[in-house]
Symmetry: D2
Subunit: 300 residues, 4 copies
Amino acid sequence: MPTPEDLAELAASRAQASVTARPTVPALEAMLHTPIPCLDHGFVRVVDYMGDDGAVVQAARVSYGKGTRQVNEDRGLIRYLMRHRHTTPFEMCEIKVHVKLPIFVARQWIRHRTASVNEISARYSVLDREFYLPRPEDLAVQSANNKQGRGEVLEAESAARVLALLRRDATTAYGTYEQLLEDEGLARELARMNLPVSWYTQWYWKIDLHNLLHFLALRIDPHAQYEIRVYGEALAQVARAWVPLCWEAFEDYRIGGAHLSRQMLQVVRGMLEGRVTGFAESGLSKREWDELMALLGRGA
Amino acid sequence: MPTPEDLAELAASRAQASVTARPTVPALEAMLHTPIPCLDHGFVRVVDYMGDDGAVVQAARVSYGKGTRQVNEDRGLIRYLMRHRHTTPFEMCEIKVHVKLPIFVARQWIRHRTASVNEISARYSVLDREFYLPRPEDLAVQSANNKQGRGEVLEAESAARVLALLRRDATTAYGTYEQLLEDEGLARELARMNLPVSWYTQWYWKIDLHNLLHFLALRIDPHAQYEIRVYGEALAQVARAWVPLCWEAFEDYRIGGAHLSRQMLQVVRGMLEGRVTGFAESGLSKREWDELMALLGRGA
Amino acid sequence: MPTPEDLAELAASRAQASVTARPTVPALEAMLHTPIPCLDHGFVRVVDYMGDDGAVVQAARVSYGKGTRQVNEDRGLIRYLMRHRHTTPFEMCEIKVHVKLPIFVARQWIRHRTASVNEISARYSVLDREFYLPRPEDLAVQSANNKQGRGEVLEAESAARVLALLRRDATTAYGTYEQLLEDEGLARELARMNLPVSWYTQWYWKIDLHNLLHFLALRIDPHAQYEIRVYGEALAQVARAWVPLCWEAFEDYRIGGAHLSRQMLQVVRGMLEGRVTGFAESGLSKREWDELMALLGRGA
Amino acid sequence: MPTPEDLAELAASRAQASVTARPTVPALEAMLHTPIPCLDHGFVRVVDYMGDDGAVVQAARVSYGKGTRQVNEDRGLIRYLMRHRHTTPFEMCEIKVHVKLPIFVARQWIRHRTASVNEISARYSVLDREFYLPRPEDLAVQSANNKQGRGEVLEAESAARVLALLRRDATTAYGTYEQLLEDEGLARELARMNLPVSWYTQWYWKIDLHNLLHFLALRIDPHAQYEIRVYGEALAQVARAWVPLCWEAFEDYRIGGAHLSRQMLQVVRGMLEGRVTGFAESGLSKREWDELMALLGRGA
């Protein structure tokens, strides 16, 4: 597995300043090659990128012709595209990051298929002794009302017991891994079998802006598991520096917005006209009613 | 996690015989819903399929017009398509399987992005106590000359030690998992963190025939890790029953065939003309020379 | 190009009733192989399918575990998936159609990349004398306020002139095509060059349910060009018969629903609280205000 | 439709030299923004790119670990990847081009689905009077033995008749187009219906290096239609400047190489051992025998 020194060397060898006639984003150049720390041992590091806000506009204008140029400013055009889900112009930007992340996070991440990935292979390399151990404040009980979520944070004593167990098992697992490799000479592809999914892996991940935004819409959502959200937030910070106009539109229309069903729209109409004053008249399921009230900032 | 009883019930409820006007393959119908065992606890189970050899022919004929009909028989047309890598007609067949497999196998498998997957989630469900433990004869030392492969099988005593270690750590890990869930009430999404990658997961996997064949070309190859090859072989058995003409062509042109470089072709010409009699005259790297000799059935 | 007789023969040879243990949908079986007419010479014809509403539920349940089973009925689960854009279970169903359509419609259609296509090739086959000629009531002037749309229907005399011109040029073009092929012996791939984009082509098109619904969300929208909407409506009719629960959820959440931006949601809150009574206080652009008022059923 | 002046203006506004820490390829920088002419009115123009030969090496090294570094030089590693079809490292480079091309070429091109496209829309813009007219030496009769190919070049008089017909019909079609738009006010989306597929369109096309090479393997092949091959050759020229090591490997292993079937390999063995001296003993179909003899440089 590449050591930090290896990576620094690689980065240095490639980070020399060059002159280019390509679109360039100074705010992103300033972040290039520098790891953004995530969790206890992970990071996101921008390795390369292509395009900027202007590339989205340029693509949209070839589609819609020059007529649009007089009417719309760049910002307005980008907002129009985002609002109406014209997604292809956002595919014209591309970014590549180097990520170090626990295997269980990698397994959620890889569900997004429209990206290119090169991951370190435990068949070729011996993995380092690096596993994820949550901070005490990130340990929480199973949520009572959300099948896939966390509830209250563990009390200090419970958290200490949990961490001791996690550390103990991970340490044992790595000891066994070394023993299998060194004492028994077991093939690497077999010896790695008992390492837990808290183990860190690394990959290069390359994706276009449209698919990155879709990834982020899911992964910075409060329903995403905390550990992948940390990476989502790091990538959000990257996107904000890279394509500020696209990011603003994304926040207004995707993150801050909401999709209302046919029935929800009817309820809103009814409320505005005074016909609907509460759940009983809404015709919605209780779950949908609660969701709608949350969107409208109305308490129970 | 669905128990075997759950799955049997699900299958039964859907396995009732119906009449259909769709292309139907009796040999595959006979395999439907029945698990093909893989490794110690895994399986591949065909859940649904669409199309047959005739669907490939039908699609090719719309492309190439009726003129082809008189000339080619179905078998000849399929072989022609396979030989010339006309891949789109093979996309016209689709298959869906239910698979139970260790996480480290799942991680290799999921690299194939052109498929649809629904995997069991350890955020929603408590995983069962099921992990992969190799048979002694599948334990081998690291290969000396192949960075990603296995060499000699372990001696009996060494194998016993390895298995004892693997079983011990896996058992401990599951004990901790239960303790974290039950004693500490830890959220499922956190408690699963110390389970090893030998743990079994399950998914539905749906893919078209073209992409299935590409998957198999890589995964029944001797360079693939043994554990995923077992699943590859199970799927190969399915494909042979499902689309026998496509499978035969695939074996002749992809599995049994080989790609020769420009330089390799020149060496073969030179050998036929008597100009090249050994490595020294070939101009190939030693590695490519050895690969070519292996293809031509010539020893060192 | 396959004649109608060719196709009927092909269909007949494959339409024999068989017994299957696969999920089967009687309402869709009744439509199999029968063309649904579209425009003046086109059609959509279901050739094969895989899965049903139950396949979506089955995939969701492997993901979310058996816990969900007691709580949700199938319909509720499908609506939940649609509401929260859990898209992968909808990928578990697949459909294949044979379509005959004008080239300019095919060019819009093919933008949807997540499908498999085998199209008739004018390099291999001589195309038939079949081109699209709109009905007089489908001829309209350029919209004054919508850059990509139609406005008022043409007056009868104007429509007659337009149709005469379209027919004249198309007839001339086909005459030239025949002349180039027969008198000059010109290669088919060159001779087809002057045929207009109103010409009919044919393809097999295979797509999963998730991507079909995405296609339909765009193509049955009033902003889609009328000619592709006709095909969208035919496919909508197919989907309704095939997966009635998914279709109902799709209509409620995607077609009948709407996405509100962060700012639009704030305006709705302001209206409910009496703070916002008109455009001036909304802070929206005029365009967004009008869109919101339309969604809430309020006139100018 | 953007005029050449519009495009020049757009390009100029974006072509200012900047300093970047990204990998930069001087030979490709020298080609940036400058159209490479194709056919009579078309072009390929590189608009942006990401990555270089080193990016492929870098991705491969994260996968295969540092061990590979000592052993392989960059060139050797790239050749190894190409030979063994390890395709993902080649996905780490991306390129974006602006292309102007006839509609019938665009229809072949768009079959490659793993790319991003923004095309000019004839619903939004009025198309210019630009259509493809072959040079006399590119007009050929239908091939007698190749259903999709061209045979002998037309004689001068025949070529002149063909060109006169093509020009006449295209001119008439554009006259009608203008008449429909201006005299009848017909909607643009309808008026374009009678324009032939020789008409020029434009798009931005963005693709990764792996998929670009796959595209080129098909489109610079002698079986591809001449008109798309012209664009393939222009892109090949771009790729050679951009990633010279990848391109060399691609030429040696993909373009100059060949895939031999199981049976063909057996025949080669038999020839080397003197057991097979002609077609009769080969067991191949005549077609495959001829293909093999061509690969081995042996005449009929």
